[in-house]
Each structure stands twice: as C-alpha cells, then as structure tokens.
C-alpha cells in the first residue's frame, strides 16, 4: 500500500512539474515575444503583419476575379474560401516559425538552452509552453484580421463573407482550435528537434515548412487543383483538415467528418513528434549540440 501511495505521489509531483514547466514556457514565451518594445509597438507588430497578409490575399482575389469576370454568387463563395484560409493559416505559420527559431534563440543568442535542459522538467513541456504562447498571440492576430479584413472588403470591394452568426457551429469551431494548435505545436517540435542537431537551418527550415503548408494545405485554393500525387500530400496534412473544419463550422455545414481527420492527423503528428524528439535528444547529447554556442 505504501509503495502504491509512493508511486501515486511521484506521479502527481511529475504532473505538477510538467504543468508548471508548460506554464513557465507560456510566461517566458510571452515575455520574450513582447518585451522587446513598448506595448503599443508590440500590438502594432502583432496586428499589422497578419492583417497585411490577409489583405494581400484579398487583393489578389479582387484583382484576379475582376480580370476574369466570374459571377457574383461563386465570387462570394470563393472569397470566403481564400479569406478564411489566409486568416486561419496565421495559426500554423506563427506557431511553426516561433518553434523553429527557438533553438537558435535559446542556444546561440541567449545561451539559455543548457540551463533549461538540466532542470528536472523535460524540455518538451517547455516547448509546448512556448508553442501555446505563440498560439495565444496568433489568436489575437486571427480575431483582428478577421474583423478588419471583413470590414475592408465588405465596405470597399462589396465582398461580404457569407457567415451568419446563427448558423455557425460554435462547438466544432471551438474544438478545432486546440486540436489544430496541438498539431502545429507537434510540427514545431519536429522542427525544433531538427534544429537541435543541425546549425544555421532555422530560417530556411521554418520558411520551407510554412511555404509548403501554404501551397499544399488548400489555404488560398483547393489542394485538389495540385497535380497528382502532390495533392495527396495536401490531403494528409493536419493544416488542410484544420482549415476544412474551420470553414465548415463557420458556414454551419457538417464539420465532423473533417474533424475526425483532423483528430487523426493531430494524434499521428503528436506521436511522431514525441518519438522523433526522444531520438533526437539522445543524438544531441552524444554529439554535444545542446550547448554549442557559435552558429551565425
């Protein structure tokens, strides 16, 4: 009995440490990402960049559809597709980029990685915490971009989003966010692991990843337009299913088929990330890359 109690106590201490590491990762992430300037400049930074990306996609749509003269009904549906794709793509882009840069930041720039690594908590809860901090920032960007973008396009270009508050499937929409975030953090963890044993790859790796996701995930055009078998890769990505669930739930369609795929691809991504991270951590210790300083 005493042994069982001891095991339970150890497990609860481990859980407590893990949760605390995640929370501290969130707190540190928030500090590092925001305290380089005053709150006003930070807020501008947080909002201006995603709004510009979303408006850019919207303008490509406006100019392309004006040149082709497509009908008004399909115009609004296609606008909804591209606009929501661009807005919600902020989640994977922000999370994967921030986690891909994290090794460089912690290891070379602030030389803090070795100190984080030798704490009793594992590195993984810390990475998850940093990922959640990015997801919180991304949520602010998503909400503001959605509002500002829809106002601009409906007022200046007569493009209205066919979203009706009464038809939105809020449950599916709310469920899709943590599921998507979990998948993107897992993807970020894989990039983190690659950066842990390599050098000078952090910029290209994150840009490759977001570029590939942007092209293959049906963000601004359906992935079925891609040549076979590239389109199959797109169909397997969690980003594609995340955007499908978001679009379906906003329109009030049945989102649960896509939700099942999102859940499946998220679980798969988490398993791959954990196995990959575990393997890479041991390689990093053997190679001595955890505290390597120079990497410019």
């Amino acid at each position: 009995m005493a042994v069982v109690d001891g095991v339970h106590k150890m497990r609860s201490v481990d859980t407590y440490r893990t949760v605390r590491a995640v929370m501290q990762g969130i707190w540190l992430g928030w500090k590092v990402e925001s305290n380089w300037t005053n709150p006003f400049v930070f807020l501008t930074y947080l909002i201006a960049k995603p709004i510009a990306s979303v408006i850019l996609v919207g303008l490509v749509f406006v100019i392309g559809s004006s040149a082709s003269g497509i009908s008004d009904s399909s115009r609004e549906d296609l606008f909804f597709y591209t606009f929501t794709g661009a807005v919600f793509f902020i989640y994977p882009a922000t999370i994967t980029i921030s986690l891909a840069y994290l090794v460089h930041e912690d290891r070379a720039k602030y030389e803090a990685l070795k100190h984080i690594y030798i704490t009793p908590s594992s590195l993984k809860p810390y990475i998850v915490g940093r990922g959640i901090a990015s997801a919180i920032n991304a949520s602010v960007s998503v909400v503001v971009s959605l509002l500002v973008g829809s106002i601009i396009f409906s007022n200046y270009f007569a493009l209205h989003l066919p979203i009706h508050a009464s038809r939105v499937d809020y449950l599916a929409l709310i469920a899709s966010i943590p599921l998507g975030v979990a998948a993107f953090i897992s993807l970020g963890m894989i990039l983190y692991a690659i950066n842990l044993v390599t050098f000078k790859l952090q910029y290209s790796l994150s840009e490759y990843t977001t570029g590939i996701l942007f092209l293959l995930s049906g963000v601004v055009f359906p992935s079925s337009m891609l040549p076979y078998p590239v389109s199959l890769i797109g169909e397997a990505l969690p980003t594609t299913h995340f955007l499908n669930v978001v679009r379906a739930s906003l329109m009030g369609y049945n989102a649960y088929g896509s939700m099942a795929y999102l859940l499946l691809s998220t679980i798969l991504m988490i398993v791959i990330a954990l196995i990959f991270m575990k393997r890479v951590e041991s390689i990093a210790r053997i190679k001595g890359t955890i505290d390597r300083k120079a990497e410019y």
Partner: protein, 277 residues
C-alpha cells in the same frame, strides 16, 4: 588633403567595397543550401498565387505578373535581411567594432554589402524567373531590352539605397531589429504589388498609388511587367524611370547623412558594442 591622399583614400575604399562584396559572393558557395532555399521558398508562395489566379480564371498574364513579382521579391528580402538588419547582426557577432576601428569609410562597407548582395540576388532572382517560367505556362513579350536594363539597374540602385538608409537606422536597434525587419515584409508586399499590378490597376486610389511609389519596388515591378510581359517600350515607362531616378537621388544622400548621424548617436549612447538588449 593632396591629390595622392585622395587617391589613397579612394583605393582603400574601393578595396573595402570589393572585400565586403566578396564575402557576399563567397557566401553563395559557403552556404549553398541557403542559396537553394532562397530560390525554392519564394517559388512555393508564388506557386500558390499562380494557382489562385488559375482558380479565378484570371488572364494568363497574371501568372507572369506573379512570377516577375516573385523574382523581384528576392531583392526586397535581401535589402531587408542582408542590408537593413546587417549592422545589427554585425553588432551581435562582435564585428561592428572592427568596422568602426578601421580607417575605411562606413559608406564603402555599406556599398560593398549592396554590390555583393545585388549580384548574389540577381542570380537568385533569375533562377526564380527561370524555374517559375518552366513550371507554369507563361509567355513574355519583350521588345525593348535596353529599357528593361535601365529600369532594372535604377530599381536595384534605389532599392539598395533604401537598404543603406535602413542599415543606418537599424544601427540604433537592439532586439527589435529583427522584428522591425519582419514587420517590413508583408506590408511592403501589399503596397508594392508583388502579386498584382498597383500603378496600372484601377482598383487602387491615387492616394494609395502615391504612398506605394515611395517604395522603389513598386515602380520597378510595374515597369518590368510592362516591358517584359505587356510588350511596351521606353515611352510607356518614362514616369517610372523618372520616379526611380528621383528615389535614387534622394535615398543615397539620405543614407550617407543617416549613417553619420546614427553612428554619432550610437557612440554617445554606447550602443555599438551592446549585445542581447
């Protein structure tokens, strides 16, 4: 100062320009995966926009607009990350103090970075254009190659003039340098018309076009598209040439003044060797 002193000074600074440009060109071979990435990554996003225009049934020239814009985007990325943020990175790696201690002109250092960066990026830009043209069914209609060369050289000079100006301003920055450079990406893509025409489009108001004209890329991309895709001649891009010439005449002296001023402020505030701010 005698003639020989002026000559010595000139030779020294020419050597500095060569040395700094050499680093940029050598970097092509030293880190080949970076060069490959800088061709492939823009191709990924420009492909998405080509597919988007295809989805919308836009005329074929819009695909060519995207590919030309994507090729010119390489220059803006280089100006931002290879020029503007460069002095910040030199500070982080401890190199900036060596520049400051040497007898070389700081402008020669910036000029060397610009020359090396422009040559290096021209290769990448041509690669993007070639691969993009191979991947997608686009057609060009170039009838005035001299006008194209004039516009291209003016665009590059104005762009790197802007890069030299930004590099001076970034001298004061600490950690915010990368965030500011990051912030200057998408909004510039938006205004300069990387993926769509701005100056020749009816969608944008005159006020927007005027604001967009402050960015050399806007004039440059618009004129290159007119010459390379729409088959126009020098007469159709006179305004663009005048605009770019004006930007060159303003930006280069402004970069010189800003560099002197920012160096003085940085020295007074002790920021030249400050890291991890």
């Amino acid at each position: 100062m005698g003639t020989s002193d002026i000559m010595d000074d000139l030779i020294l600074n020419m050597k500095v320009v060569y040395a700094r440009a050499y680093v940029r060109l050598k970097g092509l071979l030293r880190e080949p995966h970076w060069s490959i990435a800088e061709v492939i990554i823009p191709l990924l996003s420009l492909s998405a926009y080509v597919y988007m225009y295809t989805m919308l049934n836009a005329p074929a020239e819009y695909m060519a607009f995207v590919i030309v814009g994507g090729a010119m985007l390489a220059f803006w990325s280089n100006v931002l990350w290879g020029m503007s943020a460069q002095l910040y990175w030199e500070k982080e790696t401890g190199m900036l103090q060596h520049y400051m201690l040497s007898p070389a002109s700081r402008m020669a250092v910036l000029l060397g970075m610009a020359v090396g960066g422009a040559l290096n990026t021209t290769l990448r830009s041509i690669s993007i254009l070639l691969v993009g043209t191979l991947l997608f069914p686009v057609e060009y209609n170039l009838i005035d190659i001299n006008a194209l060369l004039i516009v291209f050289l003016l665009t590059i000079t104005a762009l790197y003039g802007m890069g030299m100006l930004f590099a001076s301003l970034f001298l004061l920055y600490g950690r915010e340098a990368t965030h500011i450079a990051d912030l200057l990406q998408e909004p510039i893509y938006l205004f300069s018309g990387i993926y769509y025409p701005v100056l020749s489009s009816q969608i944008f108001s005159q006020a927007v076009k005027l604001v967009a004209s402050i960015i050399p890329l806007t004039f440059g991309i618009d004129a290159i598209r007119l010459l390379l895709i729409m088959g126009r001649g020098i007469g159709d891009v006179t305004l663009h040439i005048l605009g770019l010439s004006l930007l060159v005449a303003i930006l280069l002296p402004l970069a010189y003044i800003a560099l002197r001023r920012m160096e003085e402020i940085s020295k007074r505030h002790g920021r030249l060797t400050l890291r991890w701010q």
